[in-house]
């Protein structure tokens, strides 16, 4: 019985997330229009709200070809690999006390693993496309993932030490008095940077970088395969925002409003910050980015970890 319930809830959650990702594309396009002195989509429905539905329908009917010489099977599998791990990652997110599909005791690690898996989508998609721009994009994706994954995990270990748990619900519960962003400002900053990189968003969208690589790893993709890559990206944004909310912003904690509303509000605002950053920042060069990851971010994350560890040990906790 409980399996059926979980399955049912999973289905509801997946549907909700797909809609959320669709709505998020609309929010992003309206938001960017607002930031850029232009209108953005405003024809379909009120404020163009149904644009994302129109686009989805359009994408479903678009030709979806495998390029000549491409690896057919891998080419088809890659887009699915972009979206499914991220969806799976949401399973451990705790929206309110007890509101989680799977209260894994390694929840944080699970999400990190799921986000890291998306790089396979890029590398395989790039390789299967038999396109040189895609190839360069795939190589960048792999190098960037290696550089960022290292301090992505380390940046949030401070929080894990303070909370004494890897389970998302427990981490939120540990912030009852003070949000971890106050105790771990450096960790939060590093997490934000790595989070953007993990979601492959500007300024860390080098594997896609349309100015030099046309569309990078997904140059050859069209139709729903293309849409799946985008779905993966938008879902990753939401997942990273949800994770940041959980780890640093006290999750569902907040006065007056019900817990899930607080969680949604915080996640939504963080997701908006992604859009804002995209509107504002230029993109660093690939080697500058990798150098920053290894030479600045990783040492800082280690220092943060050591300092947190020292404090925790001295206070006799954990």
């Amino acid at each position: 019985m409980s399996v059926l319930v979980t399955l049912w809830l999973s289905l509801v959650m997946i549907m909700a997330l797909l809609v959320a990702a669709g709505v998020f594309t609309w929010v992003e396009r309206r938001g960017l229009g607002f930031f850029q002195e232009r209108l953005g989509p405003n024809r379909v429905g009120p404020f163009g709200f149904f644009q994302w539905i129109a686009d989805t329908v359009k994408l479903m009917f678009k030709a979806d070809e495998v390029p000549p010489g491409g690896d057919r099977l891998t080419f088809r599998i890659a887009p699915a690999l972009a979206a499914t791990p991220v969806l799976a990652g949401f399973a451990v997110v705790a929206v309110a006390p007890g509101w989680t599909l799977a209260a894994l005791d390694v929840g944080v690690i699970f999400i990190l693993a799921m986000l890291a898996l998306t790089v396979y989508a890029m590398v395989l998609g790039a390789w299967a496309s038999r396109n040189r721009y895609a190839m360069l994009g795939g190589l960048r994706a792999a190098a960037q993932m290696l550089s960022y994954e290292a301090f992505f995990g380390l940046s949030l270990m401070g929080v894990v030490m303070l909370a004494g748990s890897l389970e998302l619900g427990a981490i939120v519960a540990a912030q009852e008095g003070l949000w971890f962003v106050a105790l771990q400002p450096l960790g939060a900053a590093l997490f934000a940077i790595a989070g953007i990189a993990a979601a492959h968003r500007l300024p860390f969208d080098l594997q896609e970088s349309e100015q030099d690589l046309v569309a990078g790893f997904m140059t050859e993709y069209s139709g729903m395969s293309f849409a799946l890559f985008f779905l993966g990206e938008y879902l990753a944004v939401l997942l990273v925002a949800a994770l940041a909310t959980t780890l640093f912003l006290g999750g569902w904690l907040g006065p007056w409003l019900p817990a899930p509303v607080w969680f949604g509000l915080k996640t939504g605002l963080l997701a908006l910050a992604f859009i804002w950053i995209r509107a504002v920042l230029p993109r660093p060069r690939y080697d500058q980015l990798v150098a920053f990851a290894w030479k600045a971010a990783l040492p800082l994350a280690l220092v943060n970890l050591l300092a947190t560890g020292a404090v925790v040990v001295l206070k006799g906790g954990a």
């Binding site: 850029q36 080098l206 100015q211």
Partner: protein, 597 residues
């Protein structure tokens, strides 16, 4: 207040107009007996015919003389076979002409070489002026002149399997003069094979340190080549080992068209040479035509011309600014700048009736007088623009990420620019205050107060800074136009000024006949040769015109800045990453129609 990295400096204060007579004497003395004839023109520039055996040596002498001619501004061909008026010139079938400039003297000299009509051969001057490389390829492509000693004498615009040389008088000008075109699978395959670029054939390496290089076709359809431009890259990872620019995808044969149009009818084409420059490229063409006709343009028309040119300089630079920022990944600035461009186009539209390609200048003046209320529109723009430029300082120029992408990237000095004939913001960003508006004022530029912004670094950031400051200077010039717009006629009272005043065509038969004949057959511009030079948004633009006394041009040579500005690519690109190369391309600010003509 705006913060500036370094204050723009004035051009050399003694930027006196032409030192022509003195230079002409020095050149004559230096060349001595190598000159076989001196051509009488109204150019104000010595035009010297050189003996075939001395062609390269003459260039070497001028390149090496005191205060040397360091810039080969242009090199082109003239098919003389159908020309009637060439009294006093040596016999020639195809003439090769080169235009040299000495920045130190602020003076020019033009050399000419007579070649055979059937099988023209000329020695290559690339050993003296590397920048002649593409120009000689162009002359080979267009006239079939074989340049002996040229490193890679290949066609530059036309496909490799093209039959004939388009600018020869014997070559057809329109597709309807040839049998219908049929594409068969075989002919398609042949054309494709003929135009495939084989690195080995070009002497480019296929491997480095035993590792095979990846050949990457950047373009002709690529979001960041800024037009249909193809660069074949040899890559080791993301590092560029060699770059081979391939031109011609935007070639429309504008110079051939000029030979088919009336003098007046070619004006709209000039707008489309540098399609972002609008009226700016009408100016050199008309300066040349008016020089041939002996027309003095009235002051009001001159002022209107200057004002519109500066408006277009701003819209062009704004597009550069936005696309450069976009190529770093900053997606917002371009949208803001399009809003500004829209404001400028509103003013341009009110004055000219058109937006990007107004074709507004006329032989002897401009098409229409300024509309009522123009001053209010211009003033609004002048109030709007400076504070926007201040915002962009923070949005783009002071952004650390932007600086990380642009400072110290794609650096080259003034020597490299001159070597490859690159001009305009490239020279000014490398410390050389070389601006035609200051050095050789035309259309009354000497009456305006403005500075020539100069930077020293020669990198992408410096080139951006130069253009940003140029926009401020353009605003200064526009303000002065607004404040001092002279009263008076907008077209010269001259029989060759065209079209004749509309109101008079309906009153006297003489003017009506002039209008009728001029519209049908074209105004007859006196035979001769003349040159118009301007500083366009992209650099040094020169129209060298030959009139044979007909209703249309005999030869219109268009020296566009974008063409030469691309030439340093092969030298500058190696060692860059692909991402930096994209930035470098953006900082060239080329317009492909201005490259391919």
């Amino acid at each position: 207040m705006t913060e500036m990295q370094s204050p723009p400096r004035l051009a050399a204060p003694d930027a006196a107009p032409d030192a022509a007579p003195e230079t002409a004497a020095a050149v004559r003395q230096a060349l001595g007996p190598r000159v076989i004839a001196e051509q009488e023109t109204g150019e104000g520039v010595p035009v010297l015919w050189i003996a075939p055996g001395d062609w390269v040596e003459a260039h070497r002498v001028l390149r090496g003389m005191e205060r040397p001619f360091t810039l080969l501004a242009d090199l082109w061909g003239i098919d003389e076979t159908a020309r009637h008026h060439r009294a006093g010139q040596p016999a020639s079938g195809v003439t090769v002409a080169s235009h040299l400039i000495s920045p130190e003297r602020n003076a020019d000299v033009r050399l000419k070489l007579a070649c055979d009509a059937a099988a023209p051969v000329a020695p290559s001057v690339t050993p003296v002026y590397p920048g002649a490389n593409w120009y000689e390829r162009e002359a080979f492509d267009m006239y079939g002149v074989r340049f002996e000693g040229h490193p890679t004498l290949r066609r530059i615009y036309m496909p490799n399997d093209w039959d004939g040389h388009p600018l020869r008088k014997s070559h057809h000008a329109r597709a309807t003069e040839t049998p219908p075109f049929r594409m068969t699978p075989e002919s398609f395959a042949e054309t494709e094979a003929a135009n495939t670029i084989d690195p080995a054939e070009l002497g480019l390496p296929t491997e480095r340190d035993g590792v095979e290089l990846m050949t990457l076709n950047l373009g002709p359809h690529h979001p960041s080549t800024h037009g249909v431009f193809r660069i074949v890259l040899g890559l080791d990872g993301e590092e560029i080992v060699w770059a081979w620019p391939d031109l011609g995808y935007h070639h429309r044969g504008a110079e051939k068209m000029a030979e088919r149009q009336t003098w007046h009818g070619f004006i709209p084409y000039t707008d489309r040479i540098d399609y972002l420059g609008g009226v700016i490229s009408e100016m050199p063409y008309l300066l040349a035509v008016e020089k041939l006709c002996g027309i003095e343009v009235p002051e009001r028309a001159q002022c209107i011309r200057v004002m519109l040119s500066e408006f277009f300089r701003i819209t062009s630079h704004l597009l550069f600014y936005g696309t450069l920022a976009q190529d770093t990944g900053a997606m917002s600035p371009i949208f803001y700048m399009f809003v500004d461009r829209e404001k400028a186009y509103k003013v341009i539209e009110a004055i000219t009736g058109a937006r990007m390609h107004p074709a507004f200048f006329r032989i002897g003046g401009v098409a229409m007088d300024l509309p009522t209320g123009w001053d209010g529109l211009v003033r609004d723009f002048l109030d709007w623009m400076p504070k926007r430029l201040d915002q962009y300082e923070g949005m783009v120029m002071r952004s650390e990420l932007f600086q990380a992408r642009t400072r110290g990237v794609a650096v080259y000095d003034a020597g490299t620019c001159l070597k490859w004939s690159a001009t305009g913001p490239h020279l000014r960003a490398a410390g050389m205050p070389w601006d035609m508006r200051k050095l050789r004022p035309y259309s009354g530029y000497e009456k305006y107060e403005f500075d020539v912004p100069v930077e020293e670094a020669g990198d992408i950031y410096a080139r951006t800074r130069v253009r940003v400051e140029e926009m401020r200077q353009s605003l200064r010039i526009i303000r002065q136009c607004l404040e001092r717009m002279p009263e008076g006629p907008i077209k010269a009272d001259h029989p060759l000024a065209f079209p004749p005043p509309r109101e008079r065509t309906l009153h006297d038969i003489e003017t009506l006949i002039h209008h009728f004949v001029g519209t049908g057959w074209g105004t007859r511009v006196p035979a001769g040769e003349a040159t118009g030079q301007v500083e366009s948004a992209r650099g040094f633009t020169q129209y060298s015109i030959v009139s044979d006394g007909e209703g249309g041009s005999y030869r219109t040579r268009i020296r566009t800045p974008s063409f030469a500005n691309l030439q340093p690519i092969a030298e500058v690109a190696p060692g860059m990453t692909v991402a930096d190369f994209i930035m470098y391309l953006a900082s060239i600010d080329h317009v492909m129609s201005d490259v391919d003509k």
